[in-house]
């Protein structure tokens, strides 16, 4: 073949940068209600299109439409909305606490509340979630005591993890919340292994794995999909595509060439692309995948299309790499606003009730934060004992670590 011009490297770029007008025209958005709902025993190849469409239930007029409408009760809707609002207020409070020096770092999940909250409420109590650091909604939706979350974030004297872990790296086995690790993607194959174990034991529990768009590039993502494809364990493989991995847009993770849902088809895993800001769609697709897994029909891959509304973490300044107001133009809107509008439309909610809820949760979280602060913060007050750093390395303290603990005590 004749070479016409020199080779050049393709380096994907986001559609907009700081100072540009936000532009999301590259995001393909199906109309609400358009995606069909297959039976749970469907073969992956017959629903290929669902990896490219966008499963949506709530339309632009806040109506719930189409086959995926989950028909939740007033009580269920209220619970979902409450969990999301509480998650957001929690985030705002802890963001502020970090700025006040009460902890070293915090990450918000602003804009992504629907995914963790709805899926937690769609699964069962004994199922195990393998979250990343941006699924705090899993605990909040489970009515986990927020004061204990804050104790952990403050690394204080009541921190169950003894001050050994970074803030928000919770571990709550009894709430189906696997210990969070800083190493990205690792929990994805672990979730598959947990689900394999459940299948090996003839149990009926299922696992739910989470990974972000950026971390799908880690080898763990591929390994998890291979093992899920081979052994067909009961696992939900959630890819939260919030468009950003710190400063890198999802095109750098490979999302420009192909979306993340369609990767499941290389492994013959039924795969969906879903509106992650649509509480009803998240609930319905999670429930579908849950039923499929529980009935021993195997794994499901779900790409949740959403937007990381806040900074990556308290150490990040997104105005250096993306338009400052881009979330205002995000075509899938805000998950709380959309569910709220739907409930108001149904006549089961009002602006006044919403404000009351916000006030009540603000007070609740403020009180919890105050209570936690009495147990100490990173900067001041009671701390975990220094000796805690030697605990739980092994089940029993080996001699060489015991000696080091003694050395530390002598040198203090």
């Amino acid at each position: 073949m004749k070479r016409s011009k020199p080779l050049s490297l393709h380096v994907p770029e986001p559609s907009t940068r700081p100072g540009d007008k936000p532009d999301f025209s590259h995001i393909s958005i199906s109309q609400a209600g358009n995606a069909n709902k297959p039976s749970i025993d469907v073969c992956a190849s017959s629903i290929r299109q669902l990896a490219f469409d966008l499963v949506r239930v709530l339309d632009d007029d806040a109506n719930a439409v189409g086959d995926w409408q989950p028909n939740l009760s007033k009580q269920e809707l209220t619970k979902g909305l409450t969990a999301m609002v509480k998650t957001r207020i929690f985030d705002e409070r802890l963001q502020m606490a970090q700025r006040q020096g009460k902890t070293s770092i915090y990450v918000q999940c602003r804009g992504e509340e629907a995914i963790a909250c709805a899926q937690k409420l769609a699964l069962s109590k004994h199922d195990m979630f393998f979250p990343t650091y941006r699924q705090q909604g899993l605990l909040i939706a489970d009515d986990f005591p927020v004061v204990d979350m804050i104790n952990q974030i403050y690394s204080n004297s009541k921190d169950k993890l003894g001050g050994r872990s970074l803030p928000f790296f919770y571990s709550e086995k009894d709430h189906g919340f696997f210990s969070i690790s800083g190493n990205l993607g690792t929990q994805f194959s672990q979730a598959v292994g947990w689900a394999m174990a459940s299948a090996i034991k003839g149990d009926n529990r299922i696992a739910s794995a989470f990974i972000g768009d950026g971390s799908t590039a880690e080898s763990d993502f591929h390994a998890a999909l291979v093992f899920a494809s081979v052994y067909k364990p009961p696992v939900l493989l959630n890819v939260v595509n919030n468009q950003w991995a710190i400063s890198s847009y999802q095109g750098i993770a490979g999302g420009e060439a192909a979306n993340f849902a369609c990767r499941g088809h290389g492994f013959n895993i039924p795969s969906f692309r879903v509106d992650g800001n649509d509480y009803l769609a998240v609930y319905a697709v999670s429930k579908w995948a849950e039923q499929r897994a529980r009935n021993n029909l195997g794994p499901t891959l779900i790409e949740w299309v959403t937007y990381r509304a806040a900074a990556h973490s308290t150490s990040d300044d997104p105005s250096r790499y993306r338009p400052i107001d881009d979330y205002q133009s995000w075509p899938l809107g805000d998950p709380i606003e959309r569910l709220k509008a739907h409930m108001i439309k149904l006549g089961i909610w009002s602006e006044q009730q919403h404000q009351q809820l916000e006030q009540q949760l603000t007070q609740e979280i403020k009180a919890a934060a105050k209570q936690a602060e009495a147990n100490g913060t990173l900067k001041s007050g009671p701390h975990p004992a220094a000796e805690e750093l030697f605990e739980h390395v092994f089940k029993e303290l080996p001699e060489h670590i015991l000696k080091q603990r003694q050395q530390m005590q002598e040198q203090q």
């Binding site: 210990s179 190493n183 690792t186 194959s189 672990q190 174990a197 090996i200 739980h392 089940k395």
Partner: protein
Amino acid sequence: MAESKLQTMNMIEAIKDALDIMLAKDDNVVVFGEDVGYFGGVFRATDGLQQKYGKSRVFDTPISELGIVGTAIGMGAYGLRPVPEIQFADYILPAYDQIASEAARLRYRSSGEFNAPLTIRTPCGGGIFGGQTHSQSPEALFTHVAGIKTVMPSNPYDAKGLLIQAIEDDDPVIFFEPKRIYNGPFDGYHDKPVQPWSTHPKSQVPEGYYKVPIGKAAVVQEGSDVTVLAYGTMVHVSLAAAKLSGVSCEVVDLRTLLPLDSQTIVDSVKKTGRCVIVHEATKTSGFGAELLSVVQENCFYYLEAPIERVCGWDTPYPHAQEWDYFPSPKRIASAIVRSVKELDYE
């Protein structure tokens, strides 16, 4: 305790016997890895186990070391007791993140809420013309990681007892199996016929369940002038070297590298006043450096000579130059003699 009946076994048979016993004893034990299931393993260590226990207990995996260990950690978190195999220690590195960042720290970061009671079996070591990627001894990459136990047996009796102990241990264990001594105790004389295990007393393995403690070294030969610290294949090579040197050597088989049995080492060196450390792995930052510091810190006033280290050279493991690389009885004996001569200068 009633005397168990003894059986003659090589290392492979002893390892398979340990797996068999644990699969029978504990429903939560699962065995898996590449070619481990139907075929019974490339070294036959799992031969017949799938047939006996079924495919949900003993199974083949995709060729993905990180997937093997990652799923094993998830199974451990569920409550199983996984015994994954990595076909060669040379290929454990794709799983290093899962081992070092996850298995090793799961207990620590969750305050013991979750743990990773894995036993990762992996054949290691050289002396088999395995070249660069079938000969390595990466133990120091694991002894450096807080939260993992590292074990390497040197004979069938220990292999079975240590493996049973490792599987029952609630902490993650890397179980290195020196493949050079799977079939017989190799003493480093590569030009002489290799003896089968049946001629060695440690091939007499009790039937049924027994354990060898993790964290305990064994003095395999008592002596008065030099302490030789070795593990794996090098235990046998060191015994041959001790004989060749004509020096009264106390040969210690460490058996467990972490947690290390410092007491046995220190007691021996205080008695002999000299120490030669032997391993196949490369020298720089190898486990021998840690052993050297343990001896130096604890036996300084007892040492009569500089501590010697006989190790693999600081190169990748070569193919044609196998016997130039592999620490030989002659090289070890020279170090032993050198160590004794230091005293004569006084």
